[in-house]
């Protein structure tokens, strides 16, 4: 094994790339769950975003347009989940799993003709001064715009939930839909909006996979990223900052173990492959169990169906 093959600068840079899709999906799902809805269809929405983004980028030649349409596609497919669970009061767990299956099937149908094609990818930003810094410049400041947008999004979600009135209403709806209804808030409308936001975020995350990280279309290319995003939300105790930690940790270990394999480490490849999943969950469990009461701050009405009686 030759560790000198691993370039720390490229390693950090690729960690950011690898974490971004999960971060996008997870921060969206966090907002959905904060509103009291458990959408297990993240994987399905991600892969829908991946295929739609790829197809649009191929046909228009514009990856930016691909991202935009991928977000719309994620939101639209999540709307079907929203309509089923919020209006027709179907079971959220079953409907979410169904959404995943639909997304996987639909994406392979749409993506079949596009397999093996290459698309334009997002340009690396050329950030003056910061990008020219030695080491740090290449590590942190020479990525495409989506990396920074995803980080901004985490900040925005945190501030939205903490400081704005709509954020408060959203949390209130997730905490007690009956109380929120009694005060005259539109529980279903709030949840629909949150679901669509989550869908759009998952769509962006998926598109990042097919347009930047890989960048091409292969069937089932999300490979469980949506499920990891879901797990990260739970183990991050529904806090935006911890979601960021979780996503980067997972992305980091994924890249690191790939690098180790590439560097010729032959011992226990299976263990290396499973390490991102195990370590991410272990670390987040430790973070959330380390505190006193209140660390398990799951929204009280998470996954519960709301039906306004009288």
């Amino acid at each position: 094994m030759d560790l000198s093959n691993i370039n720390p600068i490229l390693l950090v840079a690729s960690i950011m790339i690898s974490a971004t899709p999960i971060l996008l999906a997870a921060i969206g799902e966090m907002v959905v769950e904060k509103s009291g809805v458990l959408n297990l269809g993240v994987e399905g929405m991600m892969i829908t975003g991946a295929v739609i983004g790829f197809v649009v980028a191929i046909n228009t030649g514009s990856p930016v347009f691909g991202f935009a349409i991928a977000a719309v596609a994620g939101a639209v497919i999540s709307l079907s989940f929203g309509v089923l669970t919020q209006i027709f009061l179907s079971n959220q767990v079953a409907t979410g799993l169904g959404l995943t299956l639909v997304g996987l099937g639909l994406s392979s149908l749409i993506g079949k003709p596009y397999e093996g094609m290459k698309t334009e990818t997002l340009p690396k930003l050329d950030i003056p001064i910061l990008g020219d810094l030695p080491v740090v410049g290449q590590m942190l400041f020479s990525h495409d715009i989506m990396v920074y947008l995803s980080l901004l999004l985490v900040l925005a979600v945190w501030a939205f939930l903490k400081y704005t009135r709509f954020g408060l209403i959203l949390r209130a709806v997730g905490e007690s839909h009956d109380s929120a209804h009694a005060l005259g808030y539109k529980v279903i409308r709030v949840r629909m909006a949150a679901i669509m936001f989550g869908g759009a975020c998952a769509g962006l995350g998926g598109a990042y996979l097919s347009l930047v990280r890989v960048p091409q279309w292969t069937e089932g290319m999300t490979a469980g990223a949506g499920w990891i995003a879901l797990a990260i939300v739970v183990f991050a105790s529904w806090r935006a900052g911890r979601v960021l930690v979780g996503a980067y940790l997972f992305g980091g270990i994924t890249v690191l173990q790939l690098n180790l394999q590439a560097a010729g480490m032959t011992w226990g490849v299976q263990y290396l492959s499973m390490s991102p999943y195990v370590i991410t969950i272990l670390v987040l469990v430790l973070i959330s169990s380390n505190r006193k009461k209140g660390s398990h701050n799951a929204p009280a009405n998470l996954g519960q169906t709301f039906h306004a009686t009288r």
Partner: protein, 507 residues
């Protein structure tokens, strides 16, 4: 002062199968405390929901401050100056006080100003409250303060209160009344829903009585007896529970130096509680909420196991037996919390009777449920205790509070226990139903059962108990015969429970 603030005319609202309000009309004047009286299910809640914009009337009109008033949603009602304090609090446990208040306001000020306003208002009205506390950690009385302050910050013209005192201790009730009187003196009208008649007599200027959704009359509570109002509510006379003289028999329940640590950070430890309960006797335990009532019930029901040799039923040590074994031994309990403790909310009434009566009533044979018998037993309870429900298939949570209370108490009484322990048996139940429950307890005692009633309603204990004891910080006072006691003495027995006398001056 005598101007009409809100005038209701011909309000009608029907739900499938039931007319909740039928042509209800009355006026609320400015600056008065107007009581809305009625039995459980008389349509009080539906009526106030229409005023607050949660429910749209099928027919009828409202006039508020001289202008037609038809709020499409609570927001509109709040904007017009109508605020409401809910019976089941509309609070969010995981959020703090300031956030909860902000959610009930149309245009809340920035967080810091809001915290300041909350402090000011809470001091002005004698309702101390820390804006940064998490609501989940507050007591029932403090939670209600959050609701009241939320309303007061919007400077309402009409404040609706739906059974505000049902969860409060006597001291908290007195504080609340002070606040309401102060509000009234400032010109705020209050629509006060309750079926605690003595409260209404001491607090309210006028009362409107609803029965089966109809307005059956208006009276001036201070000039009407509680009994007369109760009879208006139910439309007929009812019998005051009559205690029959019985001579106490054998000791059925003996508690010997029961000591238990508190069950968690918010509980009360039990400290060397000892008493004997004889056949045919009704023992009443009073005390301010949170002084060990719930913990004592948990120990007696077997939900928490006590130390060996502390709890004896009919001479046998059951201290280490769980609830099922104690039920088999003849010791039944009915806890205070109806939904989630006494009854499983989403299960039908039939399923709920099986949960506690399965063994004693042979509803279960060799592990198989005898649905026919279970249904029959549930139907018997419903009939005997006048539970208003379409049938035994209805989920427990669909029953109104008072009706469910009748059901969970009736379920235990119908099993003919040797020892029955009940906590707050008539909590949230109207006068007639409360009388019926008390009568059932007395009848049971007459048949030779030993009954322990834990209640915060001192009048109730005075009415049905033979002997009285007070719980204070997990200790039990000496037990005294009720006929030798007056309220002042009870106040002293509750020792350290402040202002007990003050709280009852109103009577």
């Amino acid at each position: 002062m005598a101007d009409t603030l809100l005038s209701l005319s011909g309000l009608t609202k029907a739900y499938p199968g039931v007319v909740a309000n039928d042509d209800v009309s009355f006026d609320i004047r400015e600056g008065e405390i107007h009581a809305l009286l009625g039995e459980n299910g008389a349509g009080k809640s539906t009526l106030v929901k229409m005023i607050y914009g949660l429910v749209k009337p099928d027919k009828g009109a409202m006039v508020f401050r001289g202008a037609p008033y038809a709020p499409a949603e609570p927001r509109a009602a709040r904007a017009s100056g109508v605020a409401m304090v809910f019976q089941h609090f509309s609070l969010f446990d995981a959020l703090d006080v300031a956030e909860n208040v902000a959610l009930g306001m149309e245009n809340p000020p920035p967080a810091r100003d809001l915290a300041q306003q909350i402090r000011e208002v809470s001091e002005t009205y004698g309702l101390p409250l820390d804006p940064s506390r998490t609501v989940g950690t507050l007591s029932a009385g403090e939670r209600q303060r959050v609701e009241i302050i939320r309303c007061l910050l919007q400077d309402p013209k009409l404040l609706i209160m739906d059974e505000p005192t049902s969860v409060l201790t006597p001291q908290e009730v007195e504080i609340l009344f002070e606040t309401l009187r102060k509000l009234k003196s400032e010109g705020t009208a209050i629509l006060y829903i309750s079926h605690k008649l003595e409260e209404i007599r001491s607090l309210c200027d006028h009362a409107t009585v609803l029965r089966l959704g109809k307005n059956v009359g208006t009276c001036t509570p201070s000039e009407t007896t509680a009994r007369a109002m109760a009879e208006m509510m139910i439309g007929s006379t009812f019998a005051t529970p009559a205690a029959k003289a019985t001579t106490p028999g054998d000791v059925l329940l003996r508690v010997d130096n029961l000591t238990m640590p508190a069950p968690g950070s918010f509980g009360t430890p039990l400290r060397s509680i000892s008493f004997e309960l004889r056949a045919g006797e009704v023992l009443g335990f009073g005390g301010v909420a949170g002084n060990g009532q719930d913990e004592l019930l948990l120990a007696l029901s077997g939900e928490r196991l006590a130390e060996k040799g502390t709890i004896w039923v009919k001479g046998a040590d059951v201290s280490r037996d769980g609830p099922t074994a104690r039920r088999a031994a003849g010791c039944l309990t009915a806890p205070e919390e109806r939904l989630g403790h006494a009854a499983a909310p989403n299960m039908s009434l039939t399923e709920n009777v099986i949960l506690t009566a399965g063994r004693r009533e042979n509803l279960v044979n060799n592990g198989f449920i005898n649905w026919g018998r279970a249904d029959q037993f549930a139907a018997d309870v419903i009939k005997r205790f006048d539970v208003r429900t379409p049938g035994t298939h209805v989920a427990a949570r669909a029953l109104s509070g008072g009706n469910l209370q009748k059901f969970v108490i009736g379920r235990e009484v119908a099993q003919n226990p040797d020892v029955l322990v009940v906590n707050q048996p008539t909590w949230g139940v109207d006068a007639a139903a409360a009388a019926a429950i008390r009568q059932a307890l007395l009848d049971l005692a007459e048949k030779g059962a030993a009954i322990l009633v834990v209640s915060q309603d001192l009048d109730e204990l005075m009415e049905i108990a033979d002997r009285f004891g007070a719980l204070n910080e997990g200790r039990l006072s000496a037990l005294k015969p009720v006929k030798d006691l007056d309220l002042e003495e009870i106040g002293l027995m509750m020792g350290g429970a402040h202002d007990m006398e003050v709280a009852h001056v109103a009577e």
